[in-house]
């Protein structure tokens, strides 16, 4: 099984990180609150997840409960893949 958290963390650190560190991304309970993501970042993250995991993120799935932390993203991707 792929390590979803690691893949997403690496993507964020390399592409979206707004001045934070990898550990901050891992610890974050809300990317928005610590400034990892902004509006454009969410759009970019969604497009990355769709390509990488071959899924379609529906409008109503673009919510913090699915996308605002590594744990949320892992849970969401697993539910989409299952």
């Amino acid at each position: 099984m792929r390590d979803i958290k690691r893949i997403v963390r690496d993507y964020i650190v390399e592409n979206l990180l707004m001045g934070g560190q990898a550990e901050e991304v891992e610890r974050a309970t809300s990317f928005l609150t610590i400034g990892v993501l902004d509006s454009t970042g969410v759009v970019e993250l969604v497009s990355f997840l769709e390509k990488t995991f071959d899924i379609k993120v529906l409008d109503q799935e673009m919510i913090p409960e699915n996308l605002d932390s590594l744990a949320n993203i892992e849970r969401y991707i697993n539910s989409k893949l299952s």
Binding site: D38, S39, T40, D59, I63, D68
Partner: protein, 528 residues
Amino acid sequence: MLLHQSFLETSARVPRDVALICAARRYTYAELAQSVENLAAVLQGNGVREGDRVAIFLENGAEAVISLYAVLRIGAVFMLINPQTKTEKLAYTLADAGACCLISSQTLARVFVPALAQSAVIDTCVVVGGTIEAPLARLVGVLDFTAATESAASDVNVREPKLSDQDLAALIYTSGSTGEPKGVMLSHRNMMTAASSVISYLGLVAQDVTLAALPLSFGYGLYQVLMSFRLGACVVLEPSFAFPVKVLETMAAERVTVFPGVPTMFNQILSLDDPSRYDLSSLRVVTNAAAALTVEQIQRIRAQFPHAEFFSMYGLTECKRVSYLPPDQLDSRPASVGRGMPNQECWLVNEHDERLPNGSTGELVVRGDHVMRGYWGKPQATAERLRPGPLPGEQLLYTGDIFRTDADGYLYFVARKDDIIKSRGEKVSPTEVERALLALEGVSEAAVIGVPDPALGEAIKAYVVVQPGMRYREKQVIGHCQGGLENFMVPKFVEFVEALPKTPNGKIDKLKLRERNARVASSAATGE
């Protein structure tokens, strides 16, 4: 009238009405007014006096709103700082304004604690959500926000400040062509005047529910609160528009009637698969400011919100707002921003400061009581923008923005006089970005321009010259900028060049860079 008086009068008139909705919590006017009074007493008790500057470094939320009114209540001057601001710029801003007090939150401690260490001016710090761990022995007081807003926080009442509407209410920091952010000084009268004009042309009423997802550090966001609280209306305050679906759900659930947006937000809505699944039939006013939309985008927005009137607007921090296009003119002049707003005069001048007739192109000049009092501590920069008007003591605002007018005097934006880039609705100083680029080891020259971008208004493009033997990838350069700049300042594109074009006197020739970019863009578009 003073800015906070309008809120206090509303609170006395409709104490039980809902003033603010944040994260599903509802605050009545009476609750907010009580918290404001308590915090004001605590701030005063800690030595904050009339005219002192108090920095508010918080996400959009009730705490920021309570703070700004508490600061005004004791005659002090509030400065709302974008929560995405990095340590160095925060430290600069605090020092520039000589702020004596900072109100922030535990979640932003990693940014503001090191800034406090660099700044010798802050002596009181109020923290939302806990205390700060770092040793800040120099601070006279570190206070817990929640405790400071509770009724038992202070056993003395607020001492009435000596104040008139000529006094400063706020400093709003804005980027300038020199790269140094400047604090726009706004008096109570400036802000009340601007709010009155905007309320009148938008036709806002006490029954309105406004969705405010723009940062309060930005005049466009801040005024949503100021105007609603003056009327006794309700504001739904969102920390961001990053999850548009969430915001749209909230808008539907709260029956929002007024939606102030910027192009980035409208593009997020329009790019959803099915935005019509949210019932936004209660919307009656939709506004755009900060950056222009294309005519096609305006058409799509109107189709999306058929029940609402759409207002294209233009303004600048230095006077808040200048113009709006009456919705009945949208079909005939979709690209115009109108010809001014109530209780204000504006016109175009040529380089000899001669007033131009309709059908001309020139710099826009603004006259009215909403025009700022200048830039804090920067008389030279102030003199470039403010010049004497027709009456003794009066100051006109020279906007630095070039417009053309049609035969009826309607304004069409042409260009900025200087090189300020507007990206994501925010002003970006090329100099500030260039400084960040030059800080990267091995970068010998850097220049930044704005390039047209349908989603961002303008995207930031950097041209970089790297010393021989050094090599970077585009992503590495962007990553470096992300470490030191706010998101909206980070270049979207980086092009590596052998050298930068120069003018005869040795300055980087940005016109040439723009031409080069346009050439590349058009050859890409035609497939050459």
